[in-house]
């Protein structure tokens, strides 16, 4: 084992040793302290990083700018609480607040114990290994590639994340794949003239694309772009808006449906060409709301206005697909889905939406008018000599709009508005992000991916991680997946059911084909970033063995892990995965291609190792090297990037890593670079030059006009599979509202409004804060200094008038209680920048010995969230992340 570490160190010194001998140098890398992964350069003096900056010459990040978290990352590197050696728990008792009584052990002993447990679990059933991760503070793209690749190769689909996925972008990623072939969406700030932002703080230092969007939004606003923000709080995105409109949390669906109704039924201005040629608005459906299909081929049908014929969706003679009218096929009446959608939307009036959302109807009407006017439907623009449609207006949102029990319909309704405006991936509109199409780089013609028309002509991403989004897997089970993603096959591969108090009952009804034997956490802190920690504890205590790979201990590892393996902190990491978050946070729109990679700026401290090296070792010890290598080969050569592809095939030629090759992390990175960018652009070249840059083409940035594929305004499989999913769900004891499985975006109030007594009159939200992205942010002394000074970061924010009514004073103490009796007590900041019925809590809290500075810093609002199936979106698994509470105690400030 020590030989492996010695080899890794020797290889590190071979590449970076000469540089490290200099008293002072600048090195290139990528930040890892939030989702964005900004390009950075850092100055190192006598082996100590002393300055961090963005890279002005790169389009990855804020063009030389860098946020406070990134700048502060140096102190994370030097944090005396880092895990630097493998640790073994000596306290057999596990649970919240338990002291693990760590004992330092050797790498060999640690990996031997882990491999033994993993092999024993695999023997029983590989799915008995449950895994989770968080893409920060050091995880970055490694969690979705390096780590996920190991576990899918191992054969376990027991992917049970907390904060990421169900509480973050479960609906956005699933629907983003269908509408934009992308993980997320991003306004085309270069050309956009009007953005309606629904929560989320992108542009104001939060969310994904955090720094890039700050730069882009500020520049766009200077250019004249108008920004309207619908948000329960007005001190983040709302503070930079031309107009902040307070909205009651979880009601965006009503507003979006109302906007769509006004566009199609009142104003009557929408992008007909887009609907005809780029969506399934023209697919014919019958009275039972399913596609009318061609006999024999089973293909969906379209009426062609050019010759009055009904044709298969892929008939090459199709010229003018009809989106209105009524037709007859084999004696059955049928209509284009859009014609029925129009009628369906009529029920959603602005007055109705106003009553639900608390936004005045006239404001909603004004928003619609602005969107329709600014979208300039029908216009074109010439970009780099290529004429493309120009739609400079959009609606955008992320966690705030979609993380509700009605997450699927809410996000789909938002995207429906964009679809009607015809702005999806059009110049000035709403782009899939980071990047969706690349026609190859100039040196090798590799690094190619493109969306395409997949099943039934629908848009399918050409680059994806996680399970294949389209078409969804056939619903199956129960019992195939511990998180029930077998039944709920639409949406993410991760769901949070295991952490609910009903999991035992559900799993028993599913037949308990296996029990969880091993729990793995990569850079995660599921105790803090899920819902109530006591509920999370209940599941974690069931698992006999747990281990983690991370640079710091936290509430999860101290409470539940038997072994913790030290990972390099990001300033010491060599991480090829960081360059492959292509559709994650990559320079968007017409920004140039900028390939960066996380490279070490100093030698790894103690015995910390890169996670890739650790997992190569574990792959050997758990006998899955061929599968794991194949996964990495397929991913990094962009042959196939989804999770279904880790199947070794010795006969196939390989480009980067063969099924049985024993490479180190450094070798893998070097080969990946050389394959994708040419022999001359290997690791040493990147070390000296920082990044690879080449010009983005119009056809790549605005690919929609050049790809024949359709986005949904109608989701046929939801209706078609409703009965089957309900049947399978009921078998496992689920009793969800199966009506959500309907093809048209439809109003379903979140269970926030249907399952909780009105006496719990306040809604708790947790807006992204630019300095506290994760609870781990509050481990950093710089960040703590700033957080303490900002009235909106660590306090409980309450509307001033509401506070007055409840006799609560600014600076006083308040205790909030949810219907389950969970209480949270903290200091109140009264403000007019928040909806009268809303409480906002930025985050924080914690008790881990490994995070001493974070103790008593802020409050963890997740404590107020209780989770069961009724607070989970029946389609995408999105959790309702707004809590309802009442004030039970107040104290005047001393």
């Amino acid at each position: 084992m020590s030989d492996m570490i010695a080899k890794e160190k020797e290889q590190y010194r071979k590449i970076f040793g000469e540089r490290d001998k200099s008293r002072e140098y600048w090195g290139y890398s990528m930040c890892s302290l939030c989702y964005e992964q900004c390009a950075i350069r850092a100055k190192v003096v006598e082996g100590v990083p002393v300055a961090m900056e963005g890279i002005p010459e790169s389009d990855a990040g804020a063009r030389g700018g860098l946020c406070a978290k990134g700048v502060s990352g140096i102190l994370d590197n030097l944090n005396p609480n880092r895990v630097l050696y493998p640790l073994k728990r000596t306290n057999p008792k596990k649970g919240l607040h338990e002291d693990p009584k760590w004992q330092r052990i050797s790498w060999d002993e640690a990996l031997s114990i882990i491999a033994e447990k993993l092999n024993a679990a695999k023997e029983k059933d590989p799915r008995s290994v449950v895994w989770t991760h968080t893409p920060g503070p050091t995880g970055g793209m490694k969690c979705m590639i390096t780590v996920a690749g190991y576990f899918v190769s191992f054969g376990t689909n027991s992917y049970c994340t907390g904060g990421p996925g169900p509480q973050c972008g479960a609906a956005a990623h699933h629907i983003g794949a269908l509408t934009n072939a992308a993980w997320d969406v991003f306004p085309d700030y270069r050309y956009c003239n009007y953005v309606l932002r629904c929560g989320g703080n992108e542009g104001s230092g939060g969310g994904r694309h955090s720094s890039e969007s700050v730069y882009m939004q500020a520049a766009a606003k200077e250019r004249g772009m108008r920004l309207t923000v619908l948000d329960p709080v007005g001190y983040r995105s709302g503070a930079k808006a031309d107009e902040w409109i307070p909205i009651l949390p979880g009601t965006d669906l009503a507003v979006m449906l109302s906007i769509a109704n006004q566009i199609v039924n009142e104003i009557g201005v929408y992008d007909e060409e887009f609907l005809r040629h780029k969506t399934n608005a023209c697919y014919l459906i019958d009275d039972s709301q399913v596609y009318v299909r061609e006999q024999g081929t089973h293909k969906p049908l379209i009426y062609d206005e050019a010759d009055g014929m009904i044709k298969a969706y892929d008939d090459p003679s199709l010229t003018i697909p009809a989106i209105e009218g009524e037709y007859s096929f084999n004696g059955k009446k049928c209509r284009p889905s859009f014609a029925i959608l129009k009628e369906h939307l009529k029920q959603y009036t602005p007055d109705w939406a106003s009553e639900i959302s608390t936004i005045p109807a006239k404001k909603i009407r004004q928003i619609v008018q602005d969107l329709v006017t600014e979208a300039k439907i029908g216009s074109t623009i010439e970009i780099k000599g290529v004429k493309v449609p120009y739609r400079p207006a959009c609606v955008v949102g992320y966690r705030g709009i979609q993380s509700h029990q009605n997450g699927f319909h809410t996000y789909a309704a938002m995207q429906q508005v964009n679809t009607l405006l015809g702005n999806l991936d059009m110049c000035g509109g709403l782009l899939g992000s980071g990047a969706v199409r690349c026609k190859g780089n100039p040196w090798t013609d590799h690094f190619k991916f493109s969306p395409y028309a997949g099943f039934e002509g629908m848009l399918t991403p050409g680059f994806w991680h996680s399970r294949t989004p389209w078409p969804p897997l056939k619903p199956s089970g129960p019992g195939k997946s511990i998180n029930f993603s077998d039944i709920f096959s639409h949406g993410s591969a991760t769901r949070g059911h295991v952490y609910t108090n009903e999991w035992e009952e559900l799993w028993t009804k599913a037949g308990r084909p296996f029990e969880p034997e091993v729990f793995f956490s990569y850079n995660g802190n599921i105790v803090m970033n899920m819902h109530n920690p006591e509920e999370v504890e209940r599941f974690l205590l069931k698992i006999p063995f747990a281990f983690a790979i991370q640079p710091f201990n936290n509430e999860t590892s101290e409470g539940f892990c038997d072994i913790v393996l030290p990972e390099t902190q990001f300033l010491e990491s060599l991480d090829i995965a960081s360059g492959f978050g292509i559709h994650y946070c990559y320079p968007a729109g017409l920004d140039d291609w900028c390939f960066h990679m996380r490279m070490p700026l100093t030698e790894p401290k103690g015995e910390s190792r890169n996670v890739q090296d650790i997992l190569f070792d574990l792959a050997e010890r758990t006998h899955i090297r061929p599968s794991y290598n194949t996964f990495l080969e397929n991913y990094y050569s962009l042959k196939n990037t989804t999770w279904e592809q880790a199947k070794p095939d010795d006969k196939k030629a390989f480009n980067i890593i063969g099924p049985n090759e024993k490479l180190t992390n450094i070798e893998l990175a070097d080969r990946t670079l050389k394959y994708n960018f040419g022999e001359e652009h290997g690791l040493e070249w990147l070390r000296d030059n920082g990044f690879v840059r080449w010009e983005k083409k119009t056809e790549e940035a605005y690919w929609r006009a050049f790809i024949e594929a359709r986005s949904p305004v109608y989701y046929p499989l939801l209706t078609e599979e409703r009965e089957e999913i309900a049947k399978l769900g009921k078998k496992a004891g689920f009793n969800m509202d199966w009506n959500h499985y309907t093809s048209f975006t439809t109003y379903f109030p979140s269970s926030l409004f249907t399952a909780i007594k009105p006496e719990y009159d306040l809604f708790v939200v947790s807006p992204h804060d630019p300095i506290c992205t994760y609870c781990s942010s509050l481990m950093n002394p710089y960040i703590i200094e700033f957080a303490k000074r900002d009235p909106f970061t660590l306090n409980i924010i309450m509307n001033a008038k509401t506070g007055k009514k409840k006799n609560i004073q600014d600076g006083g103490t308040v205790t909030l209680k949810n219907p389950s009796g969970d209480k949270l007590t903290g200091t109140v900041k009264l403000s007019n920048l928040i909806h009268p019925q809303v409480i906002a809590i930025g985050g924080g809290g914690g008790w881990a010995k490994g995070r001493p500075l974070a103790r008593n810093m802020g409050y963890n609002s997740n404590k107020l969230l209780r989770l069961n199936q009724y607070f989970i979106c029946p389609i995408t698994g999105t959790h309702e992340i707004t809590a309802r509470v009442k004030v039970v105690n107040t104290e005047v400030s001393k």
């Binding site: 003096v45 005396p80 520049a219 007005g234 002394p781 007019n832 001493p852």
Partner: protein, 215 residues
């Protein structure tokens, strides 16, 4: 020649990047900040607005701190930068009281960021690379080491990264501009006129060199 800064409040998102970078650039100890953000709000619904003012030393043309300094430690340089000579400062703190903008700090001693766990290598090397003398008053110096060092290399402050104050280069929103206020054709002078920018509290009468657009 008078170096000045312009901050466009419409672009600033109060993200503390400038505060962090300033702290890093000068190896400032725990709880010492040369750049700060003052956060508040004004008005009632529907016209309520968040207020966030990034503040730093204003490098005033008529600097009161220079006038009250009994030892001549605080001085105004030819290029408009107000700086403190730590060897002359006796820590009387007259300037700290006199500064109407309250942007000076008395540096008592370096407290470790991680408390009882001791100083990090960053703090230790900071004491070598950018020693702050205990018992003196400290404040923003417009990153004069960067500015002067950059000029010596033929770089242009406000344009070239290595000649421009750290807070300006790190701002993700590009809300900050740096340049010569005496040159009417400099970008900063043009933008001050274009945006009708003004200093904070001009009624203090000290003629600050830091301007704000959209106050």
């Amino acid at each position: 020649m008078r170096w000045g800064m312009l901050i466009n409040l419409d672009k600033c998102i109060s993200c503390y990047a400038c505060v962090a970078k300033c702290k890093q650039e000068h190896f400032l100890p725990k709880d010492v900040l040369w750049a700060k953000i003052l956060v508040s709000e004004t008005g009632q619904e529907p016209s309520v607005k968040k207020q966030a003012y990034p503040v730093l030393c204003n490098h005033c043309e008529d600097a009161i701190c220079v006038q009250v300094c009994p030892t001549g430690a605080t001085r105004k340089n030819e290029d408009g930068i107000v700086s403190i000579d730590p060897d002359k400062c006796v820590g009387c703190r007259s300037c700290l009281v006199a500064c109407p903008y309250q942007v000076r700090t008395y540096h008592r001693k370096r407290e470790p960021f991680f408390g009882y766990q001791g100083l990090t290598d960053f703090e230790r090397i900071g004491d070598k690379l950018y020693p702050l003398q205990t018992g003196t008053v400290v404040k923003c110096n417009f990153c004069m080491e960067r500015v002067h060092g950059g000029i010596k290399q033929g770089l242009i402050p406000g344009v070239d990264v290595d000649a421009t104050p750290a807070c300006v280069i790190t701002c993700p929103a590009k809300a900050r501009y740096f340049g010569d206020l005496d040159d009417p054709t400099s970008e900063i002078s043009v933008l001050i006129r274009k945006w009708n920018a003004a200093p904070l509290r001009p009624d203090f009468g000290t003629k600050p060199s830091v301007y704000y657009a959209n106050l």
